[in-house]
């Protein structure tokens, strides 16, 4: 018996790790027919780890003060510190990939209706993760203290301020708007104090929240079981042939996919960073010089386009928030117990409209604001709203068909 074996035995006698490993990895069964998009959850987890590790390295050299922030990011980290550039590239790529993977993960969840009973809590916690992730991205965006960082932050913090344009109860909404803006900025102007707050939230508060929420999310997925692309909840005891052990069946498959995902990731890190560290942000923040076109990063462009294509700022803000809220209450909107777009032709069509609608909004958001752009933004905004608002009706019709065909209660 080798020394390593004896050490493991020694630990096992005291911590019972083998039992834990067996129950978590081998006795845990997952559906055999999971499709490729189910891997996005693992990608998100891997990217999260990458972000934490690369963020820790950047944290060693970054200085959160207005005088030093830009230089510490652009001079110290990019030039003075060996491999500092690598960690900044990884962190910037990771931020973009994280949002992209989270969107793909969300769209997968919507497509397979993974938000329905018994997985409503998984969806709600996932929605919270998405919100905290947006906050993390926004706060991290300010830290390099470039022109884009500064003006992007100003514009974002001004968005809740549009509540002040309310048609009724003006004073009431104005008070709320001012409070939110003040609370986000940490003062009436952006100063060292603001940067300190944003820095603290980005490196400590939001990551801790994310860690906790991701832990809960993973627990809930295991507790409720992974959804099935077929949309049918198979019983693990009655249909053992439909399930496979998590390890080695899933772990090796997802391991291989993760390796290939990382290959793509590092292609961007080494050879294609210009879209993640945009040129405009290499100009130090200048509060006296507003750039011509300020737009948020790509992952918020769809919301931004909805916001700016509506002529009234107040209603723009309401629409913007409504979209986020619709995502949260998806399990309520789509009320029928029928699951998975595979079995739901109407939902499949609506999903396509929703997907292309959000893509079109994102691309429109990256263009200059023209009257035509605003008109198209309104149309595609209506498509996306239409998806959410038609869900109760689609549910009703499809459930009717299902019953008429003699489908059983689920």
């Amino acid at each position: 018996m080798g020394l390593i074996q004896r050490i493991i035995d020694w630990i096992d006698e005291r911590a019972h790790v083998r039992e834990l490993y067996k129950s978590l990895m081998i006795d845990y069964k997952v559906p055999k027919n999971l499709t490729f998009p189910y891997v996005f959850g693992v990608f998100a987890l891997v990217t999260f780890v990458i972000q934490i590790v690369s963020g820790m390295v950047l944290l060693l050299y970054y200085k959160p003060s207005i005088a030093d922030a830009f230089d510490s990011a652009t001079y110290t980290i990019m030039g003075e510190i060996p491999f500092g550039w690598l960690f900044r590239h990884i962190h910037a790529t990771g931020a973009n990939f994280f949002m992209a993977i989270i969107y793909l993960h969300m769209f997968t969840g919507i497509y397979y209706n993974a938000y329905k009973k018994p997985r409503e809590l998984v969806w709600i916690v996932g929605w919270l993760i998405y919100l905290v992730l947006i906050l993390t991205a926004l706060s991290g965006y300010l830290l390099p203290w470039g022109q884009l960082s500064y003006w992007g932050f100003i514009v974002t913090t001004e968005i809740p301020g549009s509540l002040a344009d309310a048609p009724i109860f003006k004073d009431f909404f104005k008070a709320i708007a001012e409070t939110i803006v003040l609370w986000m900025k940490g003062g009436y102007v952006v100063t060292d104090i603001t940067l300190g707050r944003v820095f603290g939230s980005h490196v400590l508060i939001y990551p801790l929240l994310l860690l906790a929420l991701v832990g809960v999310h993973l627990y809930l997925v295991r507790a409720a079981g992974i959804s099935n692309p077929d949309g049918i909840e198979y019983d693990k005891k009655k249909h053992p042939d439909k399930f496979v052990p998590f390890h080695p069946y899933m772990t090796l498959k997802e391991g291989a996919y993760t390796m290939w995902y990382l290959a793509i990731f590092f292609f961007f890190v080494f050879f294609h960073i210009s879209h993640f560290l945009p040129p405009d942000n290499f100009e130090p923040a200048n509060p006296l010089k507003t750039p011509a076109h300020i737009a948020p990063e790509w992952y918020l462009l769809a919301f931004y386009e909805v916001f700016r294509s509506i002529p009234s700022k107040f209603w723009g803000f309401v629409a913007f928030s409504a979209l986020l809220l619709f995502l949260l209450i998806l399990p309520v909107l789509d009320w029928s117990p029928l699951k998975s777009a595979r079995r739901r032709p109407l939902f499949f069509v609506a999903f396509l409209a929703f997907m292309y609608g959000s893509m079109a909004l994102t691309i429109l958001g990256s263009m200059e604001p023209t009257p035509l752009n605003a008109k198209l933004g309104m149309i595609f905004g209506a498509v996306v709203f239409g998806f959410f608002l038609s869900l109760p009706i689609i549910s009703f019709i499809e459930y009717g068909w299902y019953k008429a065909k003699g489908g059983k209660e689920q």
Binding site: P37, A67, D68, F70, D71, T74, Y75, G79, E80, P82, W85, N96, A100, L104, V244, P248, Y249, L252, K253, G255, A256, Y257, T258, M259, W260, L262, A263, F266, F267, F268, V269, F270, F271, H272, H275, P279, D280, N281, F282, E283, P284, L288, W298, L352, M355, Y356, M359, T362, I363, S366, M367, E368
Partner: protein
């Protein structure tokens, strides 16, 4: 996979790829100004580290730095390479500030003992009166040019330095290079600005080799994982 499954894979996979291609590679809907460097001086900006004099080992970037100190440093600082506006540089007290508050410039593995990087607030406090006088005569403080190459790109800088008013009407920046060698000198200054912000060729090669190695590692290990999985699954009787 069923034919319908193949169609769905193409629809979803294809539109996702096209979408991210537009976002992360090339967005045909977004208008971007494009500036070109003149053909005859392109070569100068191409490789700022090229030696012009074998004996002294002087490079194009070194020549550009001298030109920068002569023609640009009257108003512009370049703190990442230890250049500060002329009135400050001429102040005998500045040497002491550099020693006390700054550190020697160290960039891409090369130490420049005679150039000092001084934190922005220290420099701006020391140069306060000079910068204020610039502000009153030009309308704004001429910006520090440490990262201007990354922000604007070589085409814009070349055109702008050659003829500021054509690119930015109403700017208080005068055309500083005139005469027959104007294009060449402008190109040398741009090459210098590039050399401050871009890693030198051997460092770039090192990074490229590292990148290829990392990518190959993941591609190969992914394939090995996949192969190993098939063996394991066959042994367990899943295939």
């Amino acid at each position: 996979m069923t034919p319908w499954g193949v169609i769905k894979t193409i629809i979803f996979g294809g539109s996702t790829l096209v979408f991210f291609f537009i976002l992360w590679f090339y967005n045909p809907f977004k208008h971007v100004e494009h500036y070109e460097v003149d053909e005859e001086v392109k070569e100068i900006i191409e490789n700022p580290w090229k030696k012009v004099d074998e004996k002294s080992g002087k490079t194009i970037a070194d020549e550009g730095r001298e030109l920068f100190i002569q023609r640009c440093a009257g108003c512009h600082s370049l703190r990442y390479d230890g250049i500060y506006v002329a009135p400050v540089q001429a102040d005998p007290r500045w040497k002491k500030v550099e020693q006390a508050a700054g550190r020697p410039v160290y960039r891409f593995g090369v130490l420049y003992k005679d150039r000092f990087f001084v934190p922005r607030d220290v420099y701006e406090a020391f140069a306060h009166e000079v910068l204020e006088s610039f502000k009153s005569s030009f309308g704004q403080v001429p910006p520090d040019l440490s990262t201007i190459y990354l922000a604007r790109g070589e085409g814009y800088l070349y055109r702008f330095i050659l003829n500021p008013n054509e690119i930015l009407p109403g700017t208080s920046m005068p055309p500083v290079f005139a005469g027959p060698s104007a294009k060449e000198e402008t190109a040398k200054v741009v090459a210098y600005l590039k050399s401050v912000n871009t890693p030198p060729p051997q460092e770039q090669t090192k990074r490229a080799i590292m990148g290829v190695a990392v990518i190959l590692y993941f591609v190969i290990f992914g394939a090995l994982f996949w192969r190993y999985r098939e063996v394991v699954l066959r042994r367990l009787g899943y295939h």
